[in-house]
Symmetry: C2
Subunit: 503 residues, 2 copies
């Protein structure tokens, strides 16, 4: 019997759902395989319409989805409404990407003489990789869960998805899957292109299943490693795209502290406590200069934190981990500088500010703590800062707050931080990830385990594989590779050609 827990009260309700048996997983994987042809058969325009229908269907179910998700996650209706909009937007963005067509990387090299002799006609394009397993994340019940970017990008690619529902929001997962299936159905796409499994055993069985061709995972490093091991033990290892852990250091320069310390303190407080600090891009460590301007930032952060209300965390596991990690950090050299309220039932924790010196930083003090906690490290001059930054674990993001007249400092910080992260943010906050064409959500291990990304349009590439037809009759070629097709960007004999260009 599957249960759902309200994190605001800790109260648990039994659902009329069971863990998925391995036999059921087998059946779902088979059905997903069968659905692949249907998805591909829709063509790009058909799949674009199906994704738009899914977006519409999610929005039509908004009221129920947000209500159920709020009960299961405690994230609040404002945040959840925004997140649902983001989910719908992601489906529409991939519809746009399908119509634009660059993602296919279509290329034609005509037969002809080459410096190495006569060359055959080659036509290359990306094809869907096959059914994909997706793991819903606890902290984004919509945008990184059943209705998340992995699902949207996989369906866009033409890959059916089988999703492991996160046990923190089983009902939200179920309702999301129903909304997606209804959307697919209304657009003539196969319902079986999206399926849901519950339970750890089912998850392990799923990613070991021969029909599954890739895995998308957003979650903890420890769970990610367990799954990666299962994948690596397969007879045919498959790509595992994991987003695993991130500290997201933030640096305040002396100039920025002097110019807008109060504004930065407020921004930082909002960024580290937003959504209860349960965002993979939460700044977990901030470097603040020594001296009065830095003191003012810390004072302001201390007041904001002390006056801050408690945050309901997603589940008991996360709330317990918050307690133990925050204790560990405090006893490793970053004592508590301020702690806010934590009243009420359920999994409530206080916003927590820890303080240390940059020169005292250690591997222990760079542990990621999911939840509303930040470590402020005071640094005394650039040398001190640089020495500390060199200890930073790899992250999704790093952030620099600096002033326009600090160009040299900014340049050296950028150079130092670039190898450590996937995104470098200036004078803003790493949370609130924009979903767009140029966006990217990855970084060196352990922030992610691949160069690929789960946010932004290129997320689709994770679920595609290149394929080349040599000297093929046009009848077997996808239309995008027909000689007279010109509705998408293609590379012809090495030169990129835009739609509608003279040929």
């Amino acid at each position: 019997m599957i249960t759902t827990t309200n994190p605001r009260t800790g109260a648990t309700t039994e659902l009329d759902l069971q863990d998925t048996s391995t036999a059921e997983v087998d059946a779902l994987a088979e059905r997903a395989t069968a659905a692949a042809a249907g998805l591909v058969g829709l063509g790009r325009e058909g799949r674009a319409r199906a994704l738009e229908a899914v977006a519409g269907s999610l929005e039509a179910a908004r009221e129920e989805l947000v209500r159920v998700a709020d009960e299961e996650t405690g994230l609040g209706e404002t945040r959840l409404n925004g997140e649902l909009s983001r989910s719908a937007f992601q489906f529409r963005l991939f519809a746009e990407a399908l119509r634009e067509g660059s993602y296919l990387e279509a290329a034609i090299d005509h037969a002809g003489d080459t410096p190495l002799g006569p060359g055959p006609d080659l036509r290359r394009m990306l094809l869907p990789i096959g059914p994909v397993a997706v793991f819903g994340a606890s902290n984004f019940p919509f945008a990184f869960s059943v209705a998340g970017g992995d699902t949207a990008s996989a369906l866009a690619a033409g890959c059916p998805v089988v999703i492991k529902a996160h046990d923190s929001h089983p009902l939200t997962s179920l309702k999301s899957a129903e909304a997606i299936a209804a959307g697919l159905d209304s657009a003539g796409a196969p319902r079986d292109a999206v399926a849901l499994v519950f339970g750890q055993e089912a998850a392990g069985h799923l990613i070991a299943h021969p029909a599954i061709r890739a895995v998308g995972f957003t979650g903890s490093l420890s769970t990610g490693k367990v799954l990666l091991d299962i994948v690596n033990r397969r007879e045919d290892p498959i790509p595992f795209y994991g987003e695993l852990s991130s500290l997201n250091p933030l640096v305040v320069t002396a100039g920025a502290a002097a110019a807008r310390g109060d504004e930065i303190a407020k921004g930082l407080f909002g960024s580290y406590t937003g959504s209860g600090g349960q965002l993979c891009t939460k700044p977990g460590l901030a470097f603040v200069p020594a001296g009065p301007d830095g003191d003012a930032i810390v004072d302001s952060l201390r007041s904001l934190t002390a006056e801050g209300g408690g945050h309901v965390l997603l589940n008991e596991r996360i709330s317990q981990a918050f307690d133990s990690i925050s204790e560990r950090l405090a006893s490793s050299g970053a004592p508590v500088a301020a702690r806010g309220q934590a009243e009420g039932d359920g999994f409530v924790v206080p916003p927590t500010l820890l303080a240390t010196q940059a020169s005292d930083l250690s591997a222990e003090l760079t542990e990621e703590c999911f939840g509303p906690l930040i470590v402020v490290a005071r640094y005394d001059g650039e040398k001190d800062l640089v020495a500390a930054l060199e200890l930073m674990p790899h992250s999704l993001t790093a952030t620099v707050h600096a002033e326009g007249d600090e160009a040299d400092t900014v340049a050296s910080l950028a150079q130092l931080l670039e190898p450590l992260v996937g995104r470098l943010v200036f004078n803003a906050y790493p949370t609130g990830v924009r979903v767009s064409w140029a966006q990217h959500h990855g970084g060196p291990w352990p922030s992610t385990n691949s160069q690929h990304t789960s946010v932004g349009v290129t997320a689709i590439r994770r679920f595609l594989r290149p394929f080349v037809w040599q000297n093929a009759p046009e009848t077997v070629l996808p239309e995008e590779l027909h000689s007279d097709y010109d509705a998408i960007p293609r590379r012809i004999d090495g030169a990129l050609v835009l739609p509608g260009s003279a040929r």
Copy 2:
């Protein structure tokens, strides 16, 4: 003491070279790390010139390289001259790709309102991943070895390479590395951008080294698995791009057998025996229809094979494996139909034709046999053929010989073969891989272990990672992301913009 063996005689010579110690590997990895900045600092144009200089340097050393490689591999001067030209061509092709600049995937999303609220300025581009370990392959002493596509694409990306010399051609490896270093030097690129290691222990130590950020490997499935295990046990797993094993089935339809059986037999013989059958795309299994047209093909293949001269294989290991695998295949239901000559000293084996029925095919009979061997499977009608094709292991390629009036057969074969391979060849042979923009060299496991490819321009992407700058001052952005830069294709607010377009 490292030795080199002449496969034509089996005679072994001691070289003035030692296996690289682990301490030396550490030093080389550190120097490679230090060289990365120099490669990046050259910029795209500087690296393009360096690659062209390397191409010129390889050609300048042609006489010695071919002579040494011929002594170490027995592949013959014609083939080796062609392969050296291909190596030089690959370096020049990547120079072209650097100047064209699409490979950077530059994208700019300007700050502005979005359906989800105000969005920041995001600028995305691919950056070099860092030092890369490359494993030279035995069967391509130039084009898949020290001077091969992995090295060319990694250097193009801006990644230094540390190459494990294949023990079948240590001297060729050394001379190639010297030629590359001379080319880099002449173009003002860091010599340490290419280094060489010898020995298995050094190889294992290399790919476990923290400085190494990716591995390119072309070789056997068994060695690939050993290396992959080392990579997976790293604290920070890195991408391993392996090209591992491939059977490359080829189908002759009834129509093709009737129309040009003799031509096909000759082509097939050339393809399975070329370079001693030591090509990853060698057709190892051919489906020939039952009946007189198919009989004629087999008769012709039988004569060609029986009259064929022996082939010197690359080393004793490969020659012994050829003997044992061909015996295993013969005793598993594909008896010898013809065997050619195998005279002379050294690692000489005969061209070998095995024959079986498609309906008798088994997993045992689809084992890859490196060397001049092909299994011909006779099939009785399309149903028989389809049943047999469903047993095929995944491969780099599949090939169909068919006539223009067999459109339905061709369509159903294409559909059946597409999921099994990375390249589908029509009325030609899978060997003789064209190196070009649209080319691709990969396929589902075990032919390769990733969607990426070691041949063609997209090989460069294996050694790049996406990076996003958010709200960055122009001073920290690469020039390709400056607002007024327009020398390369870029995606601006979702739309692809070609160089010199109105903006």
